[in-house]
């Protein structure tokens, strides 16, 4: 993902490190440099039309959160929260590849997300 791109209409085409995972591919694509992530909405969070993504292992949670926020066109005042293992928030600096190693199953990492108003 280009960290410079601020366009709210940025699509996954602009972001080679986060790609729509084709259904035939497993986590073994691209010499295992990417892992499959399944995004699930909780609470009032909008549901993503595309739920399954191939993400580079080195991508951070923060970077993924930014991508999801832009994809969902969240307001600047809305905060996205991401949970792994249902109820644990990984550090924003954590790499998704590490999360996959710890919590991945059936070749994918399930991440839940929700949004809330800004704190304060």
């Amino acid at each position: 993902m280009s960290d410079n791109a601020e366009s709210p209409t940025e699509t996954q085409k602009d972001d080679p490190s986060i790609q729509h995972a084709a259904t035939e591919h497993t986590g073994a694509s691209d010499e295992k440099k990417k892992i499959d992530v399944l995004l699930k909405a909780v609470g009032d969070a909008p549901i993503m039309k595309t739920k399954k993504w191939s993400v580079e292992r080195g991508r951070t949670v923060q970077s993924l959160a930014q991508f999801i926020s832009r994809f969902l066109k969240l307001e600047a005042s809305e905060q996205l929260f991401i949970y792994v293992n249902q109820s644990f928030a990984p550090s924003p600096d954590q790499e998704v590849g590490v999360l996959f190693e710890c919590f991945g199953s059936d070749g994918k990492l399930v991440l839940h997300y929700c949004k809330s108003q800004a704190w304060g």
Binding site: P90, S91, Q117, W119
Partner: protein, 223 residues
């Protein structure tokens, strides 16, 4: 949206469960040497969890007037990376010198909110307390923009309820917004969560306190 019925779980935490969650949290901290301890207030049965961290930061987050002393402190270390583009330009303009800050975190139980609250204080290594502005600069970028939308009741300076000293505090009023989804999710899977683990995993990183992943799998909820 989902039309499925949800049994909502209370986001409140009673004090006894707070202590039990902390006990289990602390056991794991001990196992992985994560540095947490329980501090009991003498003569009472009140206490809190405490951890101190040394955090390297760019000295640019510190007020300019203090930068000189930080630079002198670090002159002898190997961490200095001078990237001076113009020799005649002021060093402060382009140098990226790292400073080390001392953050002390306290996890307290709030009787009025019936949830845990994160207090912390921050200082430079020579003991100078950080200003609110400096602490703000050090909020994790992932949260900084949204927090700044309404800073006054989010990150505030408060007197520590048990120690009576000035601390910073992350206001607990929005706790439900991020706890509720996690608690509901767990309940949907018939799992119980350790409230403190879930709660701290969300609030900690905001102020540079990371909770290692192993807490998520190794710390159980109290019965």
């Amino acid at each position: 949206m989902m039309a499925a019925e949800r049994n909502t779980v209370s986001c409140y935490l009673d004090e006894k469960t707070f202590r039990l969650c902390c006990q289990r949290f602390l056991q794991h901290s001990e196992t992985i040497q994560d540095g947490w301890s329980w501090e009991q207030i003498k003569g009472t049965d009140e206490g809190f969890m405490k951890k101190t961290l040394l955090i390297p930061v760019k000295s640019s987050i510190l007020n300019k007037q203090h930068e000189c002393s930080i630079q002198d402190e670090n002159m002898e270390t190997d961490d200095i990376q001078a990237n001076v583009e113009d020799e005649t330009a002021g060093v402060q303009a382009v140098c990226e010198i790292h400073a080390v800050l001392r953050y002390e975190y306290h996890v307290l139980y709030s009787f009025s909110y019936q949830i845990p609250v994160l207090y912390f204080r921050a200082s430079t290594l020579d003991g100078r307390p950080l200003s609110l502005e400096e602490v703000w600069s050090n909020v994790h970028p992932n949260y900084r923009q949204r927090l700044q939308q309404g800073p006054w009741d989010t990150l505030t300076q408060q007197e520590h309820p048990l120690l009576g000293q000035p601390f910073f505090m992350l206001h607990p009023c929005r706790t439900e917004e991020f706890m509720k989804p996690a608690l509901d999710l767990a309940q949907a899977e018939n799992k119980r969560v350790n409230y403190i683990v879930t709660w701290l995993s969300v609030v900690g990183p905001v102020v540079r306190l990371d909770v290692p992943l192993s807490y998520s799998t190794e710390v159980s909820a109290p019965d």
